[in-house]
Amino acid sequence: MMDFATILQVLDSTVRLAAPLLLACLAGLFSERAGIFDIGLEGKMLMAAFFSAATAAVTGSVWLGLAAGIAASMVLAGVHGLASITFRGNQLISGVAINFLAAGLTVVIAQDWFAQGGRTPSLLGGARFEAITLPLADTVRPVPILGPIYHDLISGHTIPVYFAFSMVPLTWWLLYRTRFGLRLRAVGESPEALDTAGVSVVATRYAAVAICGVLCGIAGAYLATALQAGFTKDMTAGRGYIALAALIFAKWRSWHALWATLLFGLLQAIALRYQNLQIGGVPLPVQLMDALPYILTVVILAGFVGRAIPPRAGGEPYVKER
C-alpha cells in the first residue's frame, strides 16, 4: 500500500493538477453567480494557453506571456459578454461557439506563426514559471511529518498555484463582504432588483464576465507556462468541463470549489499514476478513474447528494423590453 512519501507525492501532484481547475472553477463561479452561464471556460483557457506560450516563446518573458494569455481570454470573455449580455443571445450556444473558436484558432494561428503542427516552441528558462521554494522549506524538512509536508507539498509550486489557492478566500471575501459582491450576487439572482435599485445590470455582468476572463487567462497560462513548457493542440483536455462540473459540485460556493477541485485533482493524480488500480482486489479500470469526475457530477445533479440550485437568473438574458 501507499507509504507516507507516496501519499505526499500524490497530494503534491493533486495540488498541481487542481490549480488550473480551481482557477477555472472560480472563473465560472464569478460568471455564473452573475447569471451568465459559461460553458466556454475550456475555450478561454485554451486561447490563453496558446497566447501566453506564444508570447513567452517570442519574448522570453513568462510575465508578458501571462499578460497576453489574460488578454486573449478576455477577448473571448468579451465575445461571450457581447452575445449574452448586449445581444441577449443564448449563453450556452455562445459558450459552445467559443470553445470551437479557441480549438480552431489556436491551431490555425500557431501553425501560421510557428509552423510546428499547431504547437509553440518549447519554453525555456524565464519563459516559464519556475517552482519557488518557500522560506525555511529546507530548514524544517527534517522535522517528522510536518517537515516533509511543508517542504514537499506546500513549498515548491509555481506562483500561479499559490495565486489560485489564495483566490479562494479572496473570492469569498469579495462576494460576501463587498459592495461589488453584493451586486454581483444580486444580478445573478434577480437582475431586475438590481436594475430598479439603480445599478447597471449590464456593467455588473460585464465586470463578472471580465473577472472570469482574467481567471481563465491565468489558468490557461499556467497550463502552458508552468505545468507544461509550451502550447500543444487541445492542451486543456477537457479541464474547462471538469471545472464546470466542479462548480456544480461546489454548488457555486468558493470554499466548496476548493474541495471540489482538489477532489477532482486527486482523481486525476491517481488516474495518472495508476493505470491499474486495485481496490479490495477488484481492479478499477483507468477509464473509470477518468470518468469519475463526470459521474460524480451527474450523481450530484441527480440530487442524491444534496441538491445544487444554480443562481436563479442564470442562463437567462435580462430582457426588459420584448
Partner: protein, 523 residues
C-alpha cells in the same frame, strides 16, 4: 391628446407640481404602450391611476422611475426638468417605486435588499449597520416591522411589500409610486397599507397609486387619472367623480353593470367536491377542506381576493395540481393524484377549462390560431387522419368555422396567437372550450383585460352554455362580473369557503366583508 389640467388639491395649492410629465410616448415593438401622455401631480397628495389591463399604467410609471426609457417627452420633478436615464437618477430625484411584481433578491436578507444600490462605500459592513438602525426607526415611525435578518424567500407577500416600501423610504423618496399594491394583499394588510400611505401623505410625501379597485380610489386618493389604450383620457378630482364615471372613462363607453339573463333551471348535480385540500411546493396549505357542488344549468361564482385559493381550486379541477379529497363528476370519482390526474383525463371526463392566464396557460402564443383551437383536445378522434397522423386540414377548417362563430377578429386561422389582441385571444380559448359542449366548464377571470364589447359577448356565451345544460364554475376577482353572471355565489377566504349567497340577495358590501374573512352567516 394631452392630459387635463389637474385640479389643485392638497396642502400647497400654489407650489410647483411634484411631478409633471409632458408628452411621454413609448412603444414596445409594434405596441404603443404610452402615447403623448401628460400628467401633473401636486406635492403632498395621493394621486390614483386607473385603467384596464395593458392600458399602459405600469409602463408610464416605469418610465418615471427610469426603468424604461421614453421615446419622447419630458419629466419635471418639483418644477425642474430632469432626465431619468436609469433608476439611479430617479432615486436621486427623490422618486421611489413599489412594483406590481416585486423586485427583491429572494435569497438575500431584508437588510441586504434594502442597501442594494445605496451601499455608500466599497465594504458592506458600515452600510449594513447603518441600515439596521434606520430600519428600526422606520419601523417605529410607520408600523413597518420586518425582521432585518429574515431572508426574502421566507417572507409572505405582505411582508415583501413592506420590504419594498422600506427600500423606498430608506432611499428617502419624497415621491412614492405604488403599482397595484393591494392586488396581493389581504384586506387587513391593505387597510394597514392605506394607514401608512395617509401617514406618509401627512408628512408631505407625494404618492401615486395604481389600482384596479375603484373603491380604493374613492377611499384614499385626492386626484385620479384614467388611462385607456396608452392614452391619458382624463384627470379628475376624486371628490367630484364617481365609480361609474371612472369605469366609463376606462373602457370608453357606458358600462352595463347587469346582464339580461333568464333564471337558471338547475338540473342534476354535475360536480361534487368534498373536503378538497392542496398544499403547495412551499408547504403552505392553499385549500383547507373545500366542499361544494354545481348542478347542470347553473353558474357557481367564486368570489375572493386574489391568492385565497380560487386559482388552486381551478387548477385542481383542471388536472394541473394534485390534491386530496373527493371530486366526482356526474357521479364518477376523479383521480386527483395518480395516472389520470392530468388535463387530458379531465377533458375526457367532460371538463373544459378556461384558465386564468390565457397567455401563460391557455394558448401557445407562437402556435397558429388553428393549432390553438385544438390545444388540449389534440387527441380527439376527430383530429386524427389515421392512427399515426393528425388531420391538420380538417382541424384548420373547423377552426375557421369556430373563429367565425365566436367573432374572432381577424378570423384568420393561420395567424399566430400572439398576433391577436387580448380579447380575441380570449375568444379563441372560449371557442375551444365551449364548443365541446362540456358537462362542466371551469372559467377563470374570463374578461381580464378584455374590452367591453368582448366582455358582453363572452358573458353571453357563458350564459348560453349554462342554458344548454352545462355546469359552470366561475372564478373572478371582479365582483361585478360575479354578481351579474352567477346563479349562486360562494366566497373564498384563506383556502376555505366563507359561505354562499344568491346574487339577488347580496351586494358588493356584504361580499366584500366576507372576502375579508368576516363571518356574516346570518342570512
Amino acid at each position: 391628446m394631452a392630459g387635463a389640467e389637474a385640479p389643485a388639491a392638497g396642502r400647497h395649492p400654489d407650489a410647483a407640481p411634484a411631478i409633471e410629465l409632458r408628452g411621454i410616448s413609448k412603444a414596445f415593438g409594434t405596441v404603443q404602450a404610452n402615447r403623448d401622455i401628460s400628467l401633473r401631480v401636486m406635492p403632498g397628495t395621493i394621486h390614483g391611476i386607473v385603467g384596464e389591463n395593458g392600458a399602459g399604467k405600469s409602463t408610464l410609471m416605469s418610465i418615471l422611475y427610469g426603468f424604461y426609457k421614453a421615446d419622447a417627452g419630458e419629466i419635471l420633478v418639483g418644477g425642474r426638468r430632469v432626465t431619468i436615464p436609469d433608476s439611479q437618477a430617479a432615486i436621486r430625484a427623490g422618486i421611489g417605486m413599489v412594483f406590481q411584481h416585486f423586485k427583491l433578491v429572494e435569497p438575500f436578507t431584508v437588510l441586504e435588499n434594502v442597501i442594494l444600490g445605496v451601499e455608500e462605500g466599497r465594504l458592506l459592513k458600515p452600510a449594513l449597520a447603518r441600515a439596521r438602525d434606520t430600519l428600526q426607526r422606520l419601523a417605529r415611525d410607520y408600523e413597518l416591522n420586518v425582521d432585518p435578518d429574515a431572508r426574502i424567500e421566507d417572507l409572505g407577500v405582505g411582508m415583501r411589500q413592506r420590504v419594498e416600501l422600506l427600500k423606498a423610504l430608506y432611499r428617502q423618496a419624497d415621491i412614492l409610486i405604488l403599482d397595484e399594491p393591494t392586488g396581493v394583499l389581504t384586506p387587513t394588510e391593505a387597510d394597514h397599507l392605506f394607514r401608512i400611505l395617509k401617514n406618509l401623505k401627512s408628512e408631505g410625501k407625494t404618492i401615486i397609486l395604481i389600482t384596479h379597485k375603484l373603491r380604493e380610489i374613492m377611499a384614499i386618493t385626492d386626484t385620479v387619472s384614467v388611462m385607456r389604450r396608452g392614452e391619458m383620457t382624463a384627470t379628475l378630482e376624486t371628490a367630484r367623480t364617481s365609480p361609474e364615471q371612472l369605469a366609463e372613462l376606462m373602457v370608453g363607453r357606458k358600462v352595463l353593470l347587469r346582464l339580461d339573463k333568464k333564471p337558471a333551471t338547475p338540473d342534476q348535480t354535475i360536480l361534487e367536491i368534498e373536503n378538497l385540500r392542496v398544499t403547495d411546493d412551499d408547504g403552505v396549505e392553499r385549500l383547507k377542506g373545500v366542499s361544494l357542488s354545481v348542478r347542470a344549468g347553473e353558474i357557481l361564482g367564486i368570489a375572493g381576493v386574489a391568492g385565497n385559493g380560487q386559482s388552486q381550486l381551478l387548477e385542481v379541477l383542471g388536472g394541473i395540481t394534485p390534491a386530496t379529497g373527493n371530486v366526482r363528476v356526474k357521479g364518477a370519482e376523479i383521480d386527483l393524484t395518480g395516472r389520470h390526474s392530468d388535463g387530458r383525463s379531465r377533458r375526457a371526463r367532460g371538463i373544459a377549462h378556461v384558465p386564468e392566464d390565457r397567455q401563460r396557460e391557455g394558448l401557445i402564443m407562437d402556435f397558429f390560431a388553428w393549432e390553438n383551437l385544438v390545444f388540449g383536445y389534440h387527441h380527439d378522434p376527430a383530429c386524427q387522419r389515421n392512427r399515426a397522423l393528425m388531420d391538420n386540414a380538417a382541424i384548420r377548417a373547423r377552426a375557421a368555422e369556430q373563429m367565425a362563430r365566436f367573432d374572432v377578429r381577424p378570423p384568420d386561422p393561420d395567424l399566430a396567437a400572439r398576433n391577436f389582441s387580448g380579447g380575441n385571444q380570449q375568444k379563441i380559448v372560449l371557442a375551444r372550450e365551449i364548443e365541446r359542449n362540456p358537462d362542466l366548464l371551469l372559467v377563470g377571470q374570463p374578461t381580464r383585460g378584455v374590452d367591453i364589447g368582448a366582455i358582453e359577448f363572452i358573458h353571453q356565451r357563458i350564459l348560453d352554455l349554462r342554458d344548454a345544460g352545462s355546469a359552470v364554475l366561475l372564478v373572478s376577482v371582479e365582483l361585478e362580473e360575479i354578481l351579474s353572471l352567477s346563479d349562486r355565489i360562494a366566497v373564498m377566504f384563506d383556502g376555505r369557503l366563507m359561505g354562499e349567497r344568491r346574487p339577488d340577495q347580496t351586494d358588493e358590501t356584504e361580499l366584500g366583508l366576507m372576502m375579508t374573512g368576516m363571518r356574516t352567516e346570518v342570512a
